[in-house]
């Protein structure tokens, strides 16, 4: 869409036209006895000559810079490059670079692990025929990525970072709830507390008494609906009623705690899907051949700052030159 601005380039003809016209008027020589001559049509005198070339040049450059800024100009200037993700192990990267024969290529360390996503936004900065080596803990994309350059992806999954999550259970059936969490395995570890505190991410409230008004948590599982009478009117999906309150999100279910493994797994998966970001699955290492039909995404605005400064400088220069010419 932005590149449609390039169609505005004929605007550059305007200053050229103006300068030419001015030249034509100056071109006539003074002649004292001109009054004795019949007047002629100035049309015949038009000649292509350039007045004030410096000023004309600056004005054309100014317009071109405006159009380039609007069209989000990207200059392909990068050659063979090694892209490294944020969490890539440097020693492993060195070894991979040696294996892939990218010793002389430029290295670019990204601030993100999604190197292919970053590359898609910046792909126009690479010259045609450049080769890229991506070393990253690259999350798997939903669709096969396509690029106009040949990209070799070498992916190394980082070990999952373990994290701790606090859960508070207030229930006479605490043991049944604990069994459910004890069966869980994975990088996320769930610590079950007896009393809710400010670190609790989930409070299981399975008593008929209402909780203290100041108690807050992102998610509440309500086993006994008499503690939250408002939950009865809340909408429900598959028997699970849900609503947002000032304490946090409330989930209520009549038959809690889950009685069998299937219902426990269903509850757990729903909870994980809705309240935690999915764990990225690393993309397998592969070589992506260049596909000439791959779509370009709109430019990343990499040159916009530079163009803005150039615009400012050109504008000042144009004003100065115009002023100097007038005086």
């Amino acid at each position: 869409m932005n590149s449609l601005w390039w169609l505005a380039l004929p605007v550059l003809l305007l200053p050229v036209w103006w300068h030419r016209q001015r030249r034509e008027r100056i071109k006539a020589q003074p002649l004292a006895t001109a009054r004795f001559l019949p007047r002629t049509d100035p049309q015949q005198l038009r000649v292509w000559e350039w007045a004030d070339r410096m000023l004309l040049l600056v004005r054309c450059l100014l317009l071109a810079a405006v159009i380039a800024w609007l069209a989000d100009l990207v200059v392909p200037w990068r050659g063979d490059t090694v892209l490294t993700g944020a969490t890539t192990d440097p020693a492993w990267a060195e070894q991979q670079i040696g294996e892939a024969g990218f010793k002389d290529a430029r290295r670019l360390r990204l601030a993100t692990d999604d190197a292919l996503g970053w590359l898609r936004e910046h792909e126009r900065e690479w010259r045609d025929g450049a080769h890229l080596l991506v070393l990253a803990n690259q999350p798997m994309a939903a669709a096969m990525p396509r690029f106009r350059h040949s990209v070799e992806l070498r992916s190394k999954a980082a070990p999952f970072a373990t994290s701790e999550h606090h859960i508070a259970i207030v229930s006479p059936r605490a043991q049944q709830w604990r069994v459910m969490f004890a069966a869980l395995d994975g990088p996320r570890r769930y610590l079950v507390d007896d009393a809710p505190n400010e670190k609790s991410e989930l409070i299981i409230w399975d008593v008929p008494q209402a909780p203290p008004a100041a108690m807050r948590a992102p998610l509440w599982w309500i086993g006994d609906a008499s503690a939250f009478p408002e939950l009865r009117k809340a909408p429900s999906v598959d028997g699970l009623s849900y609503m947002d309150s000032t304490r946090g999100r409330l989930w209520g279910f009549a038959n809690w705690p889950p009685k069998d493994a299937d219902s426990a797994r269903a509850l757990f998966e729903t909870w994980q899907r809705l309240h935690y970001a999915p764990l990225a699955y690393p993309a397998p290492s592969q070589a992506l051949a260049a596909s000439p039909s791959a779509p370009f995404v709109p430019g990343s605005g990499a040159l916009r700052d530079f163009l803005a400064i150039a615009l400012l400088a050109l504008f000042a220069l144009e004003r100065i030159l115009t002023h100097a010419r007038r005086h």
């Binding site: 006895t33 007047r39 100035p42 005198l45």
Partner: protein
């Protein structure tokens, strides 16, 4: 040193050109000096009956036992006014001699006249019409006045148009006593504020003499046809000099100058039309002779 017109044209030192032009030009503007009572001592002569007693030099009588009368040089009472037209059209250059233009020619010839006037002891003043204004240098005598006038002449630049007719009319009181007025212009505007002023001065019984400067190319209508021209005083269009335009040009120009000459003759203003490619001395002599006084 100043052998050719081109060399003369490139000289900016007016003094030098004046000396060059006036060498061999023995004649003055009008009949020479009168002798009589005055301030500047001239000579003694023998007393003759009828001379005033107060003019007898008594000290000389005591020394020589003879009556001598002091003769003094009487200053001429004729004021010479030099009128320079320095409007934009006077910048018209000669198309054959590089560096020569009408303003330079007018300025130089007026400088020569100033030198002649000074040599004769006449008071002389300068009027420069430039850039829609009139600049006066009041009439006076002597070498300092000469320097003043030369400086004014050298400073004149061809620009702007004639001052308004009212401005000129209001400033004509400069010539109270009988004066000689030398006007150098191209007279491309006629009638114009300048022509009105000159005719008016003539009617006030001043001796007005006009020098109409032209270039050889103007006389021959031989301008380059492949250039565009504009009027320096009226920026109103572009002109070209085609073959059919040349005929129109000649006709219009002849008509214009015929009218001008006729009016000058009618009012007894001696007019000389001179191409600026001619030598200065010749033109100056012809101009002075045209007035019948040389």
């Amino acid at each position: 040193m100043l052998a050719t017109p081109a060399l003369v044209a490139h000289t900016t030192d007016l003094d030098l050109i004046i000396r060059h032009v006036l060498a061999g030009l023995g004649h003055g503007i009008h009949a020479g000096r009168e002798r009589g009572a005055g301030v500047e001592f001239s000579e003694y002569r023998a007393y003759a009956p009828g001379d005033e007693w107060r003019r007898v030099d008594w000290k000389l009588l005591a020394r020589n036992d003879r009556y001598y009368v002091r003769e003094a040089e009487r200053d001429s009472h004729v004021a010479v006014w030099l009128w320079l037209d320095a409007t934009a059209s006077m910048a018209e250059p000669s198309r054959s001699v590089a560096g020569l233009d009408k303003l330079w020619y007018a300025r130089t010839i007026l400088a020569c006249l100033a030198a002649i006037a000074q040599r004769q002891g006449d008071a002389f003043g300068l009027i420069v019409c430039t850039g829609d204004r009139v600049q006066f240098t009041p009439a006076a005598r002597g070498p300092r006045q000469m320097q003043r006038v030369l400086a004014q002449l050298a400073r004149a630049e061809a620009q702007g148009g004639m001052p308004a007719a009212e401005t000129l009319r209001a400033s004509l009181h400069f010539a109270r006593s009988p004066s000689l007025i030398f006007a150098a212009s191209d007279f491309l505007d006629w009638p114009s504020p300048l022509s009105e002023a000159l005719l008016r001065l003539r009617r006030m019984q001043h001796d007005v003499r006009a020098l109409c400067l032209q270039t050889q190319a103007e006389c021959d209508a031989s301008f380059s046809p492949d250039k565009a021209y504009r009027d320096p005083e009226q920026a109103d269009g572009v002109y070209r000099f085609g073959p059919e335009a040349a005929a129109t040009y000649r006709h219009n120009r002849d008509q214009h100058f015929a009218l001008m000459t006729a009016q000058c003759r009618q009012n007894d203003i001696p007019t000389l039309a001179a191409p600026i490619e001619q030598p200065l001395g010749t033109v100056l002599r012809a101009w002075l002779r045209r007035a019948g006084r040389a």
